[in-house]
Symmetry: C2
Subunit: 284 residues, 2 copies
């Protein structure tokens, strides 16, 4: 099968590696409007050729759009225009509702399967692509009643090849959940990094003292703004709801520390400890 | 040398393993008022004997207090009372100022070296003890002008045996920095876990969707309340300052997302990306 990957970064590149290695894709065409990324993807062997959007879509059985969410919103209707009856299209972006809304009345809507593989690292670009990135993680397929059966079947096979657990939900429900389990983690990390860096300007010792706990909570603050700004804007209402709840919880800690209510802080921490069961469920 | 470890959990137990293995301690005595922990420490081979506080201090060249910070505050003056002229005492707690204040006029103050090895995991108890926990991390020694020279020398040797980089600062400065690089990370994680768990009561899918990013930001929410409540209370002023700065940064994200100011969000994220240089400095 010939597969096109549009945007050959961490996600697109990692998919390319395993789809080829595991026999799903015989030929992989790459599209990237960043020339450096495109050349790197070619020389790293992630793709066989770099093509124009139009050429690659016309030659492919499957097109994977793995660009930032704002680019996906612009590209998807164009690709549906170009795609013939046999080409299947999927995207991998972290927001789903606005994207599904955008094409819901498109004549070729059935060829599109909206998806979100819940995997990634804080790194980006084709150099960050790695085999096994998706193994054991969840892949969300959204509004699948809007997709043609055999298009859906192909995307199911693709995620099975990537060793992902497939989960089905509406695009609206996806965006609510994603705000809680992913988008807020990033804002939390970005804000934590800003807090520390603001202090650090005159207090260099912080560098020497950072330990494992600090590393893990600010790890996501390395993440790319190109990816995350459109996510926060496309999922604005859900992100704001969860961000406000988060600030309320922090205010609760603030008040209890201020009034030195040790027993109540203890009980808050013990409630938060219940997250163990979530984390243990999600071990690879 | 005979070493006593008071509170044989993650930190005390991990120190026991490597101090013995690397030839620093010939005999290790354990004190723990939790019988289950004490028995586990003995059967895991972390300590050679379980003793009373008084007996162990009297028999030891070195006493390491690795209890929660509130217990350390109570125990330290008692141990200084019992300790003879040759016994050196150190603690490993995450706050230093109040502890140093508490004993600053004690007749045996010189025998005490206030320290904080910046290492740990989200697990606790003797079962969590592991070799290599401290390797490559920083150990802070505080107010060392108050310690006898040869007491300080012994503690330096101990941390060198644990492969730690020794950093010197005042107890007051330590507490400011620790609030930024460690204490706030924990509050951030606890509050994030509470936010997600509150939502999850009626939305079970969150479990299925949690990915690597989420895991790493809430990992610390598994941490023990027994350890952290006293830290937040003993370091109240610093923790409140950093917590308020953190809430301000989150509010900044909230406002910019609300008003959809993409360029300004991008610039905030890019500023936070500078944390890369801190994290890269701290790789083991």
């Amino acid at each position: 099968m010939t597969v096109t990957i549009i945007g050959i970064g961490l996600i697109g590149g990692s998919a390319a590696i395993d789809l080829r290695k595991r026999g799903f894709a015989a030929t992989i065409l790459g599209v990237d409007n960043d020339k450096i990324n495109a050349n790197a993807a070619l020389s790293l062997g992630l793709v066989d050729e770099i093509c124009t959007l139009e050429e690659s879509v016309k030659r492919s059985d499957l097109v994977i759009i793995s660009t930032p969410a704002n680019a996906t919103l612009t590209l998807l209707p164009k690709i549906l225009d170009i795609a013939g009856n046999k080409t299947v299209i999927t995207d991998v972006s972290s927001t789903k509702f606005e994207i599904c809304q955008k094409v819901k009345n498109h004549i070729n809507r059935g060829r599109f399967v909206a998806s979100h593989p819940m995997a990634g690292t804080e790194f980006s670009g084709p150099w960050a692509a790695t085999s096994g990135l998706f193994d054991g993680r969840g892949a969300i397929l959204c509004d699948t009643d809007q997709s043609d059966k055999e298009a859906l079947y192909l995307i199911q096979k693709m995620y099975e090849t990537l060793n992902m657990r497939i989960i089905y939900m509406t695009s609206s429900s996806h965006d609510t959940h994603a705000a809680y389990v992913s988008h807020i983690s990033h804002i939390s990390s970005f804000a934590l990094a800003l807090t520390v860096l603001e202090k650090e300007q005159d207090e260099k010792n912080i560098f020497d003292m950072a330990s494992g706990g600090f590393d893990s909570t600010v790890r996501l603050a390395k993440s790319s703004s190109d990816m995350w700004v459109p996510v926060f804007l496309q999922n604005k209402e859900n992100v704001l709801t969860v961000l406000r709840t988060y600030i309320d919880k922090l205010r609760e800690f603030e008040t209890l520390i201020e009034t030195e209510e040790g027993e109540k802080i203890k009980s808050l921490i013990e409630s938060s400890n219940k997250i163990r069961r979530v984390l243990n469920c999600n071990k690879n």
